[in-house]
């Protein structure tokens, strides 16, 4: 069992990387399932993903995760070489989805510091079985068609050993790792050039035993035809990592080719985890140039390697001179690479003599001067390895920063903005003619404004991550519920604050599930209702005036006011007589805790916890939920969320000695009012009539228990606010104007006071250093 006593930053990096890889895997699988085909690139990507997860998990000593990843990697290594039948695609998808889910669960456990699941036998077995089926049913067609491998039998290899001339014995370099895979590659290459042969051990992929056998006894290939020996000798002479081989009774010791080039890479001083960085770099290089070798070779879990990388640099050995440029391209883009140099590499020499190294410093000259001349060779379009996808290139320009640091930065910038206005509007400066000061102050204001914008944009990420996850849910539910629903994304590139993306993920999931489960009818019902059989769920995001609108819309059966009201009455959730409920209000019943329209509880929904969680989560980030529906045509849930949580436009109002802040987005209008406009109902509640609508009056000094001298309705000011589906007029002493304020959370000491229920969500520091409380209207109105 892996104990979680690992270096934190390492664990964070691991989690971040693995999570994004798994998400990528989900995307690939969904794509493959949709087209019902695994393209070569997709298979390669899955292989790469699993390879990386295997490597990094092993390094973190999450052995179970590594094992599962290894199994999947093996599976795909087989598929990569032999292809997969179309009929198997669905099973393959399901299997990999299952493995993916398992890995995700485990990673989540790692995140939460829980013990990992050590029972992976079931999954392993499934993968093995599948691999077995693949092999059994599709007798691995080698590229030259028409030839079939002689069926493996235990009797054959011993028989073959008698004939030395047909036997080839290959010994790999010591410690070159993955001997079985290397053996496979050789075997495949042989078949490619038309050599028919049987290998010992027969079963290569996926087998520790094979690795051991190859290491101890060498990899034996028995050729069908002794005449092929010449071809094989040529091939082996040009293969990598082979120490020696015997063919046709002769032993060849491989003298290394002298034309190999080596790239010596130094990482930034003190960047830490040099071995892991080298490993990552190696993986990146592998994508453009698979035949790369590295010194030190064993990077993972090897302190010595770290030291070597630090002191002597990390050597990448490229045997093919023509490809050095490709590899350099990757190295140049690599993270934390301080400098690199190319040199000639002579394998046989014990001490590699760096012949005329050309050091290139990345930090100083990006792509100019001699550096460009060495490093930037045009990328040949004819590279046999999959060209780096455009996504890759973008990724290397990103760095991941801890959210805490960003928060600290944001806070600091907020302070600077406030302090700036404190300085420039200092009372000491009033009535002074300060031409130069005003000039500089204006410049400062401009710069702080920009600083603020940029620091805000740092936290902005696109919502596509949260949206993309829904594909998986729709896919799973389509299968389970036998529905045919298509998910359409609109505006997924819209950028919002990171916290918002995190908080909308759950609500979106609930809504999509609801739509899938209750919203969209079964295929038969849809056809009967004259709708296309295929249902549609549209997820959209758009910016509108400082707010982001996120809509989940389906073309299902929509909401029925009567059903909603009956159900609510049954559960005792109605607060007034059913007839009084407007359609909008009836829809909002859905959001009440304990309300569920579906009688039976299904796996996906029906427990009635979904929608109120949606509402809570959205309100937590200062947003509102509204529901629209046309009976028979579908429904839409709309989230209105402020773009950022940290800085809001707000109106300052005075009540007694205190200054309160009301977010501008809930204010409809402000007005003075005369006594005759006030209506009083039997309970003494005061109402005001505006444009033939009656609004209750909430006196802030009463609601918040404050002292003020302004209690006469004609002296103060009324502010019409609308939030959370209801509206009211708020009475305050006077308006102090509109400002941008930086929202600060209240100290946690105050959390015992349920201030949120009283409509106080935070506070802000005003220009003069005093504190103003920020009111949240929707809870104040209720």
């Amino acid at each position: 069992m892996a104990d979680i006593t690992i270096n934190d930053s390492m664990a964070e990096m691991y989690l971040y990387e693995t999570n994004s890889l798994l998400e990528q895997l989900d995307q690939i699988l969904l794509g493959a399932e949709k087209s019902n085909e695994f393209s070569e690139e997709e298979i390669n990507s899955i292989f790469r993903i699993m390879h990386t997860i295997k490597g990094s998990s092993a390094m973190m000593e999450f052995n179970e995760i590594a094992k599962v990843a290894h199994k999947v990697e093996d599976l795909f290594s087989y598929i990569r070489n032999n292809g997969v039948d179309r009929e198997m695609n669905e099973d393959l998808c399901n299997l990999v989805f299952q493995a993916n889910d398992f890995l995700k669960e485990e990673i989540e456990k790692v995140e939460n510091g829980e013990p990992l699941n050590s029972d992976i036998a079931f999954l392993e077995e499934r993968i093995l079985n599948f691999l077995g089926v693949l092999k059994g049913e599709t007798p691995a067609p080698p590229p030259p068609p028409g030839r079939s491998i002689p069926s493996p039998s235990a009797a054959e290899p011993p028989a073959a050993t008698t004939d030395d001339s047909r036997e080839v014995l290959v010994r790999f370099d010591e410690g070159c790792q993955m001997e079985n895979v290397r053996a496979m590659i050789i075997l495949n290459k042989m078949r490619e050039i038309g050599v028919q042969c049987v290998s010992v051990p027969e079963r290569l992929e996926n087998s520790e035993a094979a690795v051991q056998e190859i290491i101890t006894r060498g990899f034996r290939v028995v050729l069908e035809d002794a005449a092929d020996v010449g071809k094989v000798t040529d091939l082996l002479n040009n293969s990598l990592n082979i120490a020696s081989f015997t063919a046709g009774g002769r032993e060849y010791k491989l003298a290394r080719k002298k034309e190999a080039s080596a790239i010596r890479v130094f990482f930034e001083d003190g960047c830490g985890m040099e071995n892991m960085r080298a490993f990552q770099l190696l993986n990146q290089v592998l994508e453009v140039y698979p035949d790369i070798r590295s010194v030190p070779e064993q990077l993972i879990n090897n302190e010595e390697a770290t030291q070597q990388v630090i002191h002597e640099g990390f050597l990448l050995i490229v045997s093919d001179d023509g490809r050095v440029g490709d590899v350099l391209g990757v190295v140049e883009q690599g993270l934390h690479v301080k400098s690199y140099a190319t040199e000639n590499w002579e394998e046989t020499a014990a001490d590699e003599a760096p012949a005329a190294p050309v050091p290139v410093s990345i930090a100083k000259e990006e792509q100019s001067g001699p550096a460009a001349a060495v490093a930037v060779k045009p990328q040949p379009a004819v590279s046999p390895a999959p060209a780096p996808e455009s996504g890759r290139v973008v990724k290397q320009n990103l760095i991941s920063v801890s959210l805490n640091k960003l928060d600290a930065l944001m806070e600091l910038v907020g302070e600077i903005v406030i302090t700036e206005s404190m300085v420039t509007s200092s009372p000491d400066l009033q009535d002074l003619e300060l031409e130069n000061f005003t000039k500089s102050a204006r410049q400062l204001r401009k710069l702080t404004g920009e600083l603020q914008d940029i620091s805000m944009s740092l936290r902005m990420v696109s919502v596509s991550g949260a949206f993309q996850k829904m594909f998986r849910i729709v896919r799973d539910m389509n299968k389970k519920l036998d529905k045919d629903v298509e998910l359409i994304l609109v505006g997924e590139e819209t950028e919002v604050d990171k916290t918002i993306v995190d908080s909308i993920a759950d609500p979106l999931m609930h809504l999509v599930r609801n739509s899938m489960d209750h919203g969209i009818e079964s295929r038969a019902d849809r056809l009967a209702g004259g709708k296309p059989e295929k249902g549609k769920i549209v997820l959209s995001a758009q910016n509108s005036a400082g707010e982001i609108l996120i809509t989940v819309q389906d073309d299902g059966k929509g909401l029925d006011r009567e059903v909603l009201l009956n159900k609510a009455a049954e559960k005792g959730l109605l607060t007034k007589s059913p007839a009084e409920y407007s359609e909008k209000e009836a829809f909002l019943l859905l959001l009440l805790p304990g309300f569920s329209t579906k009688s039976e509880v299904t796996e996906f929904s029906g427990r009635g916890v979904g929608m109120d969680v949606v509402k809570k989560n959205i309100e937590k980030i200062g947003g509102t939920v509204t529901i629209e529906s046309r009976k028979g045509l579908g429904m839409a849930s709309i989230f209105k969320i402020p773009l950022t949580l940290a800085i809001i436009d707000a109106m300052k109002v005075a009540v007694g000695k205190s200054i309160l802040t009301i977010p501008i987005n809930v204010i409809n209008q402000t007005f003075k009012c005369t006594a005759q406009n006030i209506i009083e109902d039997a309970n003494g509640t005061q109402m005001v009539l505006i444009r033939n609508e009656c609004y209750p009056i909430i006196r802030l000094y009463e609601a918040l228990d404050m002292e003020t001298e302004v209690t006469d309705i004609e002296e103060g000011i009324l502010i019409l606010v609308e939030a959370g589906g209801s509206a009211a007029c708020v009475f305050a002493d006077e308006l102090l104007g509109q400002y941008q304020v930086v929202v600060k959370p209240l100290p946690s000491y105050l959390s015992s006071y349920d201030l949120r229920d009283d409509g106080i969500v935070g506070c802000t520091i005003l220009g003069d250093g005093s504190i103003s409380l920020i009111l949240e209207m929707s809870s104040l109105l209720h």
Binding site: E411, G414, E415, I418, K657, S658, L704, D705, M706, K744, P745, L746, P747, S748, Y749, L750, S751, S752, Y753, D754, L755, D758, I760, C763, I765, G769, S770, I771, S772, L773
Partner: protein, 166 residues
């Protein structure tokens, strides 16, 4: 100086700090609060009222951009309120990783009180303030009531604090 000696010396210093108390006065009576809880002492600054606060919590203050709740120690001890004057101070403390300010009549000094000079707290007398006392320190013939800073936030608050810190 040898680093080992230095480390030892530092250790001694922390031990010393355990015996150091910041004393403040309320109605001529001296109270002591462990210096290790104290962050700084500031003069009275504008306090923003927060509705629904219990009476002794006066509100929140802005300490260089940090929002810190303040508690009036007089009210916490169920003593009559007294108008603030120029000697009124706020002692900013950090208890369980939580910043909180205590408004006191007057800050006196930092004193060393040996453990031997600390008597256990007397049994509850009539005064509400004694609920917060963990011991009585004697110094130069004067009594200093030593406060348990944990108890200044009441049990419920301490519990709430634990939850919010999770």
């Amino acid at each position: 100086m040898d680093w080992l000696q230095q480390a030892e010396l530092q250790e001694q210093e922390t031990v010393v700090a355990l015996n150091q108390y910041l004393t403040f006065a309320i109605d001529e009576q001296s109270f002591g609060i462990s210096i290790s809880d104290v962050v700084e002492i500031i003069s009275l600054c504008p306090i923003a009222q927060v509705p629904q606060f219990s009476g002794y919590a006066k509100g929140i203050i802005n300490l260089r951009g940090r929002i810190i709740p303040v508690v009036d120690v007089r009210l916490r001890f169920h003593m009559p309120e007294k108008p603030y004057d120029s000697r009124t101070c706020i002692i900013i403390t950090n208890i369980n990783e939580l910043d909180i300010g205590f408004i006191v009549d007057e800050v006196q000094e930092v004193v060393d009180i040996d453990q031997g000079d600390v008597e256990p707290a007397p049994r509850l007398t009539g005064s509400y303030a004694h609920r917060f006392i963990i011991g009585v320190g004697k110094r130069l013939g004067k009594m200093i009531l030593l406060l348990d800073s944990q108890r200044l936030l009441n049990e419920e608050e301490v519990a709430a604090l634990d939850v919010s810190q999770m």
